[in-house]
């Protein structure tokens, strides 16, 4: 009786999807031949059939469901009219809600994973700082979460996504439909969104939009925490708070709107025939390069730590205080990346979203390739497989694959990761020796240089096999790079890079300079020498440790 109920439901569902009315457009229709067996067309199911579907009795359920065959049955489907009982309409609504529920749960859980990356950043940066700055570094990584979220809730989300339109994967609420546009070259250029302030404005108090906010907020916060890595051990805390607020409220949302919110970069394909427009699946450019170029701006404004360079400009090693938490942080970040990249489908069901498996594997492969190439490069060039640079290579591979992960094959993912691992080693040396910019954790190289490489690699390696609903950025077809026949996609990607350097960097630099003029960005030299924990935070991270070291 129990099994009969479940089997009956299964048969009905098979009949429903195979009935003539429900045939999909892609289903090939082959006319029956005279020699073939007669085709039996199932009778369309009716509400009457559904009314006869047995469900386990209350007495049966009262005994518990030890083998899991009773839980979840026709009785669990919400009926719109109890007098009519279960109808085909109810069944169809339940299928639709299940699809959106899958997507919402997927997006929320992957968003939680991305939030967990904050811990990875905190450990990585704190481990690479000296012990006397550990409290200050941890505090920056904690506070950037709250400050960033608050700014993003106030206006950042609205600027970024206020004109994106309906997100079909999350239920398709059309409330985010007001993009401010300007007209140039006879085309519309989307500049910023206008709906969604405080998550209450213009119908944006909506379940799907809440999910979108959570997911986009943790992405923004990942970007906001990148500059802290380049500025540790000398950034005045109050100035850090103000600068981070601006980043979350304006700098990040503006570029994110142009790339993801229906802005002008996304529409380069529709308006100018450049591939599918600027394509950045999970944010090599939007998150990492925006964070990386902002890190460069802040590091330039702050200047190097006392003792980093000799008077003749030679860099000096300032040793990290805890490599154990550095590597722990790297591994936590890699774990969180499984939310970052696969989660960016914003769904697990429909519209080609099952490619999440490919996205996750590409993410793993690129991280391994980056780790290996960085380790081997350091081993060959400097004689030892440097621990922190191997960790940076690991992250470099992840940063680089973030934009192309949804559009490339596994071999390309490995190539992208291998190049990123070597690029980060060269970039770290260039930033320190040639630019004489002090970047204690390598944030500029990991997120800036490798982020740009990730953006460019979409235009090279996208293989044209992905199909997320048949189009991308409003252009029909799959994203295809130069090596697979579309040079214009690379052009769109280079336009994105030009914007990151010529607009995003400048925004960060100008605001950082304004804060510097008004309140000073750098902590006093006395505090820096003492360590920022006590002067800025009022407490030490390791009081006993300090006593033992005799300070």
């Amino acid at each position: 009786m129990k099994m009969l109920g479940a089997a009956r439901i299964s048969l009905l569902l098979v009949a429903l999807v195979s009935s003539p009315k429900c045939l999909l457009a892609q289903t090939p229709s082959t006319p029956p031949t005279s020699t073939a067996a007669p085709v039996v067309i199932p009778k369309p199911i009716t509400d009457a059939d559904l009314a006869n579907v047995p469900v386990p009795s209350a007495d049966t359920r009262a005994q518990g469901d030890r083998n899991g065959s009773l839980t979840g049955n026709a009785g669990d489907i919400t009926v719109s009219d109890s007098k009519k009982g279960l109808t085909i309409g109810d069944l169809a609504n339940q299928v639709g809600q299940n699809k959106i529920a899958l997507n919402i749960v997927w997006t929320l859980i992957t968003g939680y994973l991305v939030m967990f990356m904050q811990l990875g950043f905190a450990l990585l940066e704190t481990g690479l700082a000296r012990a006397k700055n550990a409290n200050h570094t941890m505090m920056m990584n904690l506070v950037v979460y709250g400050v960033g979220m608050f700014a993003y809730w106030l206006c950042g989300f609205a600027i970024q996504m206020g004109g994106v339109g309906a997100i079909a994967n999350l239920g398709g609420t059309p409330a985010l439909n007001a993009e401010h546009v300007i007209h140039l070259f006879g085309k519309d250029f989307g500049i910023f969104g206008q709906h969604g302030f405080f998550l209450m404005h213009k119908g944006t108090y909506d379940v799907g939009i809440m999910v979108l906010f959570l997911f986009q907020m943790v992405f923004m916060d990942t970007g906001a925490t990148i500059p802290t890595g380049a500025a540790i051990e000398r950034w005045k805390f109050s100035s850090f708070v103000v600068t981070s607020f601006f980043f979350a409220a304006f700098t990040y949302p503006l570029f994110a709107n142009w790339a993801w919110g229906g802005g002008w970069l996304a529409n380069l394909g529709v308006n100018f025939g450049l591939g599918k427009g600027y394509v950045d699946f999970a944010g090599s450019g939007v998150v990492h390069t925006v964070g990386g170029v902002s890190a460069l701006a802040i590091a330039m404004i702050l200047g190097p730590r006392i003792g980093k360079f000799t008077r003749d400009g030679r860099p000096q090693a300032i040793l990290a205080h805890d490599m154990v938490i550095v590597i722990t942080g790297c591994l936590i970040l890699a774990f969180g990346w499984f939310g970052f990249n696969p989660g960016s489908t914003l769904g697990a069901s429909g519209s080609g979203n099952l490619r999440i498996g490919s996205i996750a594997v590409n993410t793993m492969l690129a991280s391994a390739a980056g780790l290996l190439s960085a380790m081997l490069y350091m081993w060959m060039v400097y004689g030892k497989p440097d621990v922190s640079m191997t960790g940076n290579g690991f992250l470099a591979g992840l940063v680089a694959i973030t934009a192309p992960c949804a559009f490339v094959n596994p071999v390309s993912a490995v190539v992208i990761g291998l190049i990123a691992g070597i690029l980060v080693c060269i970039s770290v040396a260039f930033v320190e020796r040639n630019l004489q910019v002090d970047d204690p954790v390598g944030a500029i190289s990991v997120h800036g240089s490798c982020g740009i490489w990730g953006v460019v690699s979409v235009g090279l390696f996208a293989d044209g096999t992905s199909n997320y609903g048949g189009s991308w950025n409003g252009v029909n077809g799959s994203v295809t790079g130069l090596f697979y026949g579309d040079a214009t996609q690379l052009l769109a990607q280079l336009m994105g890079v030009a914007t990151l350097l010529g607009v995003v960097f400048i925004l960060s630099f100008c605001f950082g300079t304004l804060v510097d003029l008004l309140m000073g960005q750098r902590a006093p030299a006395k505090s820096e020498l003492e360590g920022l924990d006590l002067p800025e935070m009022g407490s030490l991270a390791y009081p006993e440790f300090e006593l033992k070291s005799g300070n």
Binding site: P304, L491, A498, L501, T513
Partner: protein, 64 residues
């Protein structure tokens, strides 16, 4: 010099952006790459050099 660096970086973006007015893909590539080079020169060549002139390690405050 800092202002010059900022302006040159913005100029690089404007040059890249102007490539959208062209019709040939090759021409657009050339102009975008020139724009990128100008922006990089503005940031790394001019702006960073201006900051390094007053860097802390060139003064007496660099002794820990």
């Amino acid at each position: 010099m800092k202002i010059v660096g900022v302006l040159v970086a913005i100029l690089g973006f404007i040059v890249s952006f102007a490539s959208l007015a062209l019709s040939s893909t090759g021409g657009r590539f050339a102009v975008v790459i020139v724009g990128l080079a100008i922006s990089l020169f503005g940031i790394l060549g001019i702006l960073n050099s201006a900051h390094l002139k007053h860097s802390i390690w060139k003064t007496g405050a660099n002794e820990e």
